[in-house]
Amino acid sequence: CVGINLRYRFHVSLLCKLVSCFGDRAGQFFSSGHTNNWAVLVCTSRFWFNYRHVANTLSVYRSVKRLGIPDSHIVLMLADDMACNHRNPKPATVFSHKNMELNVYGDDVEVDYRGYEVTVENFLRILTGRLPPSTPRSKRLLSDDRSNILIYLTGHGGNGFLKFQDSEEISNVELADAFEQMWQKRRYNELLFIIDTCQGASMYERFYSPNLMALASSQVGEDSLSHQPDLAIGVHLMDRYTFYLLEFLEDIHPASKTNMNDLFKVCPKSQCVSTPGHRTDLFLRDPGSVLITDFFGSVRKVELTMETINLTDPIDAESGELQKEMHTYADQLPVSEIIHQKPKQKDWHPPDGFILGLWTLILLVFFQTYGVKHLKHIF
């Protein structure tokens, strides 16, 4: 039923496009106001039984790449390595559908933050831009005021927090503050926040910056459930909300005109058992006019170049005499020095503080028990 509606809408929009191409084109250019797209996809849980969270994130990664966002504009954070986990019966794969139909860990996955690098601190540093200067470009979110950003979080969560790595948590207040700092520095044009955890709607309750749209897989007090286990792999492969989200996204192609209202209908209560929620009051545009590809894809705006500059100077012929420099590889490590190194003399250190303290304690107890007069036997 939902599928037929989508197709009908597509045909109608195609007809409209044929009828009024010029007007539509100008309108489309200016309707969204963004020139580039970024995606920050985070999986926050480790351990083999949380396989489904990694599969969730990788499915969204796959859709986002398929719809056009390049790896240089995606920050992928996976807290654990499922593909090369010792317990994975099919190594180098992460499946999202039972019977191993869809391998979402292809051969061009670029994980930017892996394992223990996925922490609350790093996540907030990425969002606010406060990374140390030595961070490479691929680990930064270099968005500007005309970027649309998609942020997807998945893992175990509760009322007002999301658990990272089984040892720390991020609260909804911190997240809202981070988004406000992003807004102050104009690091986004529009931001779509999707969270697939238990009680996910609590994470977007505290947002207060403009141009934020949020979707969650369950309301406060509800649990997000997983979809189906695979008997060969032995764990649940996906969460329900992301499973139906992936199904929905598989129908989208870069030129499609599906809008956000269809995204809100993904996974109704009959399929998801929990009630997905969304929040659009901070968003300036009407969600019906926001295309899915505004956030999940990267449709570039293009203008034809109409002018050219008349250049008449001939090129200097100096370049012909350039001497070819001989380039050699520099040694990474001073190998010869290391091989021929003599073992270092270990300096003498006075006894450790612990040993000293222990001896002092023993002496004190001795003299306490037997009296100070025994000191004269020692000195």
Binding site: T35, S72, D145, E174, Q184, V302, I309, P314
Partner: protein, 581 residues
């Protein structure tokens, strides 16, 4: 011995009761005193976060931004434009002020200082040249106007320098030639002449110097402006934001190395054509250039064969999908976070040659190129810009064919795209204006001035927003440690901002831009310092949960003993009272 020892130490239990009580009270009071006088301040000092001093009052002053922009205009009357009576009253100077309130925190004021004078003999000679371009050149040799100023030469209506329908000619440097209107032919007073000239000079100023729309567009970081007309939105989306540096990458895409062996002299072309523009733009930003060749890089779109022209065509609609597949293969310099401008030159493969872009009206685009806002430009080579290649390959051609690319034509298009992406290109001039083509440097002096005005304003606006929001953030969150280096960066940013605003008011464009760049650098460094991460969110109940197990066991005995002391003192006082009576 034993007895003496026993006498020395009286057992505590034998001492008189009053003494014991007094000693107890003294002990409790002294412990309470130590806790309050020494303990509480010590605990406060050791748990407070180090916050270096920030110039908060100066930052608050900067939050209310008052920008004064001033430009010097010199209006030179050539022979035949003023009558002798009018000439006596010239030279004179006029100053005009215009105030604009953008929003409650931002106010702009423009000041134009106009100096009127008559032309010297050498200038008259220069204006007697046959064409406007030559006149412009010889006028430039006479005097050089400083950055930010303008000279407008008013020429008589009958002058043959300008074509018939053109009233204003804008030169490559900072001069303009203005043709006086016909209604000034009959003798009028100087005031009427000046009143007639004023709106026309203002029009010239809007094109060649700052205009209100440009400046308010530059303030977009600070002020949320409602979108104006579609052109201004497109302009603001297209040009890159002000940044201290940019990276330019030229890429040659060869999808068919088996058929084509490409030769492009990119080093020489960059040195000859692109570098002059970048050198001229060096006060605005640093540029770094690199180039690469990509083999087997296809366009993501299949071109259609146009049988009427027997060429392959790419529709304008499909161009949007060309960029994404290619972008995945382009590298970028991992060391810097500067914005990257990509310029791609695509040589179509032998089976899809020649390839042309058609616009919506199915006409061939003369440049065969397109650009994407804030990304870069892509150009498909035209057959006529390539040496050594025929339209169609002969049957016995030996593959691969050597192809030499005419870099002048290619760089002409890339230079035009570069100008658009950097925000140099101005909007279409008003009717009756003729703008001279920019020289071989690719940039006219007045265009550079315009860019410097808008960049200075943009930098100042961004730096003030950054500093004020940083101060607000640090004020709101008491847990963040403010190190000395951050305070130093903030102070230097505030100083540079104040200097920039004052230089802008004085009209020294070069210094204003330099100070504004320093302000941006310091403020960004302070805002994005990695140590300013507010990570620990302490709700109040967590704070209580931490402190209560530490302090409660200690405080309860002290409090109880103090209470006991107080109640005993009160009891004693009550006992004493009846005695007194």
């Amino acid at each position: 011995m034993k007895i003496r020892r026993a006498q020395q130490f009286v057992k505590y239990s034998d001492q008189p009761v009053m003494l014991k009580l007094k000693r107890g009270q003294l002990a409790a009071l002294s412990i309470a005193a130590v806790v309050i006088i020494v303990g509480v301040p010590l605990w406060w000092r050791t748990t407070e976060t180090y916050r270096a001093w920030l110039p908060v009052s100066q930052i608050k002053e900067l939050a209310k931004l008052q920008l004064h922009l001033s430009a010097d205009v010199e209006v030179v009357f050539a022979r035949g434009t003023v009558t002798p009576e009018q000439q006596k009253k010239v030279p004179l100077t006029q100053t005009q002020n215009m105030e604009h309130r953008v929003d409650e925190d931002t106010a702009l004021s423009y000041r134009y200082e106009t100096r009127y004078r008559t032309a010297t003999i050498m200038e008259e000679d220069a204006l007697n040249q046959p064409t406007a371009a030559e006149a412009d050149l010889s006028l430039h040799t006479l005097s050089e106007s400083p950055s930010g100023s303008l000279v407008v030469y008013v020429i008589p209506e009958s002058s043959s320098l300008l074509p018939q329908n053109v009233d204003v000619y804008i030169g490559q440097r900072r001069t303009a030639l203005l043709r006086i209107g016909s209604q000034m032919r009959v003798g009028k007073t100087l005031e009427q002449l000046l009143a007639h000239m004023e709106p026309r000079i203002k029009q010239v100023l809007h094109v060649m110097s700052f205009s209100h729309t440009d400046i308010t567009a530059a303030l977009s970081n600070r002020v949320r402006i409602s979108p104006g007309n579609k052109e201004s939105i497109a302009d603001s989306m297209r040009a890159f934001k002000s940044s201290p540096g940019y990276e330019i990458t030229f890429s040659l895409l060869n999808p068919d190395p088996k058929s084509h062996r490409l030769h492009w002299d990119i080093e020489g072309a960059v040195e000859t054509y692109i570098q002059p523009l970048l050198t001229k733009l060096s006060p605005v930003a640093n540029f770094s250039i690199d180039s690469q060749t990509l083999y087997y890089a296809m366009l993501g779109v299949n071109p259609r064969f146009d049988s009427s022209r027997s060429t392959y065509t790419l529709n304008a609609d499909s161009l949007a999908h060309v960029i994404n597949p290619v972008e995945a293969r382009l590298g970028s310099n991992a060391a810097s976070s500067n914005p990257v401008l990509n310029f791609l030159l695509y040589i179509p493969d032998a089976h899809h040659s020649p390839l042309y872009i058609h616009d919506h009206k199915k006409q061939q685009v003369p440049t065969n190129a397109f650009h994407s806002p804030r990304w870069g430009g892509i150009m498909i080579i035209r057959q006529c810009w390539v040496y050594n290649v025929n339209e169609f390959y002969e049957v016995d051609t030996v593959f691969p064919v050597d192809i030499n690319i005419d870099m002048a034509k290619v760089m002409g298009v890339f230079l035009a795209q570069l100008r658009l992406l950097l925000g140099v290109q101005s909007s279409t001039p008003p009717p009756g204006f003729l703008v001279a083509p920019c020289g071989n440097a690719g940039l006219a002096d007045w265009e550079l001035d315009r860019l410097m005005w808008s960049r200075s304003v943009e930098n100042i606006a961004t730096a003030t927003t950054t500093i004020t929001s940083l101060a607000q953030l640090l004020d709101q969150i008491g847990n963040i440690v403010i190190n000395d280096n951050i305070a130093q960066q903030v102070s230097s940013a505030v100083t540079s901002l104040q200097l920039a605003v004052s230089e802008l008011e004085a009209g020294n464009l070069g210094f204003a831009l330099q100070y504004s760049k320093e302000a941006i650098l310091s403020s960004e460094r302070a805002f994005f310092d990695p140590s300013l991460l507010h990570l620990l969110y302490f709700p109040d109940d967590q704070k209580f949960a931490i402190y209560i197990p530490l302090f409660l066991p200690m405080c309860v005995p002290i409090l109880l003993s103090l209470l006991k002391i107080v109640s005993e003192a009160r009891q004693k006082h009550r006992e004493k009272k009846p005695k007194k009576d």
